[in-house]
């Protein structure tokens, strides 16, 4: 059943925060440092701000059609052909983002924990776990996100606090890095880093409190923006700009530097342990969202039967990038750049069309009454 499971407000926020923030543990900080230089911590604020505006548009569209997902709304507003095209855009964004994040997480695990294990094995385990998690449904996934939320918060807080002794805040200057114009430009251009917030649009019919959708999205974005920005600020101050832009996993590298006395050191494994859990949740959510979009698009009554196929496809496609830098580049330069069109621009157009349709039908009704 596609409508199976109900998601409470708190669970929805927790899941969205996980969805948005888990990439912080992989190569996302490096990408930000590449475009934002010393102002790497400001760029996500702009991106998330833009994403929040984009989400408000999505929310406005969703609230016009209560108890319907963004997929069905697209078809209702613009007809089946355009609707399916729009849904393909959402699907492409979520699927590509999930596959690339899986590749990223697998590489991180391979680097940090299992250097002698083949990447295919590490990734296979991720795929199997993702498959199991997604098949348990949205209720279990969002509740797991809520249950594990303290872990992720504790991880970020400890990582940032314990890294402070290594930080050199002089590295943050010049504060505006490449200049305000470029910061805003990059922030807006890469606003798709918040594209996962569209997840709320996909599960909208399953939300217990659909009327709080706007609050859920904006709060999730705000929480993620805060943690992302603070973490990037710490990363950039620990690894000054030129280094940070060339370190594939700044979060992991920062954790290796933690040294609190002779006994408490080399604790990066503990952090990776927690990041794997958050990675599993994100991948589960990604797989679920992708499959749900596909199932809704194809008007399937259930989504689980196509889940193994989606997982297998994802597993195969994850090997397409020959190396981590290529995967990172694909993610940042393609998915996070053009993804914004799919997840923010298309809903905005749909909203416009819906508005025009509504006003036309209102006018027609007015004429009919007049005659």
């Amino acid at each position: 059943m596609l409508e199976e499971g109900r998601v409470g407000t708190t669970e929805a926020i927790a899941a969205t925060v996980y969805f948005l923030s888990s990439k912080l543990f992989v190569s996302f900080p490096q990408q930000m440092a590449t475009v934002g230089l010393t102002a790497a911590w400001i760029v996500p604020i702009v991106s998330f701000g833009t994403g929040a505006v984009g989400f408000l548009i999505i929310a406005a569209l969703l609230q016009r059609y209560p108890r319907k997902s963004i997929v069905e709304i697209g078809e209702e507003v613009a007809g089946p052909a355009v609707g399916i095209a729009a849904s393909l855009g959402y699907l492409a964004f979520f699927f590509a983002a999930t596959v690339l994040v899986m590749r990223d997480f697998s590489e991180t695990v391979g680097t940090a924990l299992l250097p002698r294990t083949p990447l295919s094995v590490v990734m296979l385990i991720f795929v199997l776990v993702t498959l199991a998690a997604a098949s348990l449904g949205i209720e279990a996934l969002t509740r797991a996100a809520l249950l594990a939320a303290p872990l992720i918060v504790a991880t970020l807080v400890f990582l940032n606090l314990l890294s402070l002794p290594q930080a050199n805040f002089d590295a943050l200057f010049p504060v505006l890095g490449p200049g305000p114009g470029k910061i805003v430009c990059h922030g807006v251009l890469h606003s798709a880093v918040t594209g996962e917030v569209m997840f709320l649009g996909v599960i909208a019919p399953q939300l217990r409190d659909g009327h709080k959708l706007r609050m859920m999205g904006v709060l999730s974005i705000a929480i993620t923006a805060f943690f992302t920005s603070v973490s990037l600020l710490v990363f950039v101050s620990v690894f000054p700009y030129p280094f940070c832009a060339h370190i594939p996993y700044p979060g992991y590298e920062t954790s290796t530097l933690i040294y609190v006395g002779r006994f408490f050191q080399r604790v990066e494994v503990a952090f990776v342990f927690l990041w794997v859990i958050s990675g599993c949740i994100e991948l589960g959510l990604g797989a679920y969202t992708s499959t749900m979009i596909l199932a809704r698009m194809l008007k399937l009554p259930v989504y689980r039967p196509i889940l193994p196929a989606v997982a297998l496809l994802g597993y195969t496609l994850a090997f397409v990038p020959p190396d981590v830098p290529t995967a990172t580049r694909l993610d940042f330069e393609i998915v996070r750049t053009f993804g914004g069109i799919a997840v923010f621009v298309v809903p905005a157009v749909l909203l416009l069309v819906a508005q025009v349709k509504q006003s036309r039908s209102g006018r027609k009704r007015g004429r009919a009454r007049g005659t």
């Binding site: 409470g8 809520l146 249950l147």
Partner: protein, 758 residues
């Protein structure tokens, strides 16, 4: 093979290609508002309730399969399958292999397998005779033709009763079980409706005997008594295998009328009190000689009942089955010549253990008494702590051979009626020949049988059960079991102990944190040790690493073998310690813990650090207050050991994630297992942190109690601020005021009655 099939089924259903089955589950979620207690799934819950009514006696396994959908409710999918196999009489009118086998087994009118004698009738004959087959009934229920039962949970049985009544057959409604439980409502009432029907009220009906009866003997199972004493005695002798069965006593005598009236009593030796029978039954009947000779037989019976039987409970039985069930429960039945009604006198008395101290849930502070094997005592122990007329104890019969009494306890006005109805539905839906203990009962009623974690809380403490009842949970007691069950159970209740509430709140909170830590240690410590030594030695400080390396230098095994060796040895010691006779138990401890451990280290089989690891793990395991939860941790630990050996911390992380997923996906009687954290709901101040007793003002949200407020905001009214803030009457809305001065609300250790702001 059956288990394998169930496991495969569970795996498939986890992958959930059978997603509709999930919709069948009873859901008592935290989110919907209390009024109406309706489903959060549009059109889902009510429909679910209707269909699930078929679970007790339905047939078929697949959703939409002519009533199969009705089966899916309580026991998870695997449980549903097994239940379907057990209960199915036919599918689409065709007798299944199981039903054919069942028909082939001859049974007594009471469901007991007897030497081959009685004829069997095919299921189709039942349908033809006017009584609906199980499949028909389930189909109708699934299609909504039959409305769900009212919250008192009697609807389904009422329907059966009505159908049988319509056919003009007698049917016993219920059996009086204990003092005050079965109250006769008078002979005349309802006789016009159902001739010969028992009029005992006050209890729900015993579980339907569709499971063990066939249409052919359906007429015999409620066969009315004859006027002839000899005919009745012959029938009873046949049922009880009189002559062969030495425990059954049939004592014939004359009531000294003129002419003497023949009578007999029937009882079971060992279950009935000889003193009561001699002094309160036989003596008055045999020594009184002033009965009027012109009295009609019915008047004789009336006179005997009103003047000659000083027993405190006397009920009427009008069919064989009623007599048989009474006798095997320990009552004494009096049959009089010329009467087609027997009198059942309460004479139950058997040897039993007295109330003793708890053995599995010991506390330093707090009550020191535990349940024993006698249901009446156990109910009384709970009732003593909840002196409210709203505490209701309903009796159901469980097991076709054992037919033990099962008491369902709840507090009327607090407990969610849907929860009570669901508990009764599951208990009365059990189809098994014997259920001897709550440990077995729990397996029949839990939501997901293949999940390791317990979904029902087992306790031997009456005070703990009373506390849960006051919160809105439902208690289940089974005759013969010294443990009670509490449903629904959550993960957090598994790390709570009764003592938490008897200590001041900082101590109680501290103990809970320690127990959570113990759970983590019991689950993960050996796995973490393996992961650190095998995959991530850089995590270990150099000095410690050198020390570990030095101790492991002469050990020939890899770490994982070493750990498994010690873990298995420890499991052996633990199991042997339980099975060994008590006298040499301490010796075993010495042998196991000291000699074996010391010798293993000296022989360089294991390293000393590993002995420490295993010992700490064992301590963690023992610190988990719930026995079943500790067991789950023991088994899960081995999974983590293998994951750590294969993938180090990555394996452990993946395992933890999967465990979290399983936990959040588990329900206990419709309540999410991780409530009220996930899904989130306002806490009652009784989760990990334990609020002070005076500020635990709310009942847990996940049970959806009828009254959410348990005590007023200001309970310590004696304080100056309390006097100022206490509202007139001192009660919060929707709740009666507790006794002033913090009197014990309903005797509950949780409801200290009188929270407030100091």
């Amino acid at each position: 093979m059956g288990l394998l099939r169930d496991v495969l089924n569970e795996i498939v259903s986890l992958l959930s290609f059978e997603s509709p089955a999930r919709e069948e589950q009873f859901v008592l979620d935290t989110q919907p508002p209390l009024p109406g207690l309706t489903s959060d799934v549009p059109g889902g819950r009510d429909g679910r309730g209707d269909r699930s009514q078929g679970a007790g006696a339905g047939a078929g396994t697949g959703p939409g399969q002519g009533g199969g959908g009705g089966l899916a409710a309580p026991g998870g999918r695997a449980g549903d399958r097994s239940r379907a196999t057990q209960t199915s009489g036919s599918q689409n009118g065709e007798p299944t292999a199981v039903s054919r086998l069942r028909q082939a087994l001859p049974r007594t009118p009471h469901g007991f397998i007897r030497p081959r004698k009685m004829s069997t009738v095919k299921v189709g004959a039942r349908g033809a005779s006017g009584r609906r087959t199980i499949a028909e009934e389930t189909h109708q229920e699934a299609s909504g033709e039959i409305s769900p039962p009212p919250p008192d949970g009697t609807g389904r049985d009422e329907r059966h009763g009505q159908q049988r009544g319509d056919r003009g057959r007698t049917r016993e409604q219920a059996q009086p079980q204990g003092p005050g439980e079965g109250q006769e409502q008078g002979q005349g009432q309802g006789q016009g409706k159902r001739q010969g029907e028992e009029q005992t009220q006050g209890q729900p009906q015993a579980p339907d005997d569709d499971w063990n009866s066939t249409a052919g003997d359906a007429g015999d199972e409620v066969k009315p008594l004859a006027q002839s004493l000899q005919a009745n005695l012959d029938a009873l002798k046949q049922v009880f295998h009189y002559g062969l069965n030495s425990d059954v006593i049939i004592r014939e005598f004359d009531i000294p009328t003129a002419p003497p009236t023949r009578a007999a009593i029937v009882f079971m030796e060992g279950l009935s009190s000889k003193d009561i029978i001699d002094l309160a039954v036989l003596q008055p009947l045999m020594l009184i000689s002033n009965l009027d000779r012109d009295l009609r037989t019915s008047d004789v019976l009336k006179l005997v009942e009103r003047r000659l039987l000083p027993g405190n409970q006397v009920t009427h039985k009008r069919n064989l089955r009623g007599i048989v069930e009474g006798v095997i429960a320990g009552t004494t039945c009096l049959l009089v010549e010329g009467c087609d009604t027997a009198l059942e006198v309460e004479t139950k008395s058997w040897e039993h253990r007295g109330v003793s101290q708890p053995t599995a849930e010991t506390v330093v502070h707090g009550p020191q008494e535990a349940f024993n094997e006698t249901l009446k005592n156990n109910v009384a122990l709970v009732r003593r702590r909840m002196r409210t007329p709203d505490l209701v104890s309903e009796i159901l019969k469980v097991g076709t051979l054992s037919r033990v009494d099962c008491a369902i306890l709840h507090v009327e006005g607090i407990t969610n009626p849907r929860l009570v109805a669901e508990v009764k539905r599951r208990v009365s839906g059990i189809r098994a020949d014997q259920v001897q203990d709550t440990g077995a009962l729990e397996q029949f009623i839990e939501d997901r049988p293949l999940v390791l974690v317990p979904q029902v809380l087992s306790t031997e403490r009456p005070d703990r059960m009373a506390a849960f009842l006051a919160e809105g949970h439902v208690g289940i007691l089974l005759d013969g079991s010294p443990f009670g069950l509490v449903v629904p159970a959550t993960f957090w209740s598994m790390v709570h102990s009764a003592e938490d509430y008897f200590l001041r709140w900082p101590f109680g909170t501290f103990l809970r944190v320690v127990r959570l830590l113990a759970l983590v240690v019991a689950l993960l410590l050996p796995a973490v040790y393996i992961a650190m030594t095998n995959f991530h030695p850089e995590m270990i400080p150099t000095d410690l690493l050198l020390a570990i390396a030095a101790t492991r230098e002469r050990v020939p095994f890899p770490t994982v073998v070493e750990v498994l060796l010690m873990e298995v040895s420890f499991e052996l010691i633990r199991e042997a310690g339980i099975r060994v006779p008590g006298v040499i138990g301490p010796t075993l401890g010495i042998v196991g813990a000291l000699i074996l451990g010391q010798a293993a280290v000296a022989a360089s089989v294991v390293s000393p650090i590993l002995v420490i690891i295993v010992a700490i793990t064992a301590l963690g395991s023992f610190a988990i207050p719930n026995f079943n939860m500790a067991f789950a941790a023991r088994l899960t630990r081995f999974v983590y050991i293998f994951l750590a050996a294969a993938f180090g911390f990555y394996g452990i992380a993946v395992g933890v994630f999967l465990q979290i997923m399983i936990y959040v996906n588990t329900r206990s009687f419709g309540v999410p297992f991780m409530s009220p954290v996930a899904p989130f709901a306002q806490s009652s101040g009784d989760l990990i942190l334990r609020y002070p007793s005076w500020s635990m003002e709310l009942r847990p949200p996940f049970v959806q109690p009828q009254r959410r407020v348990r005590q007023p905001e200001v309970g310590r009214t004696w304080t100056p601020s309390g006097e100022a803030e206490a509202p007139a009457g001192g009660a919060a809305p929707g709740r009666q005021a507790p006794p002033a001065g913090g009197g014990d609300q309903a005797g509950s250790p949780r409801g200290k009655g009188g929270g407030g702001r100091a």
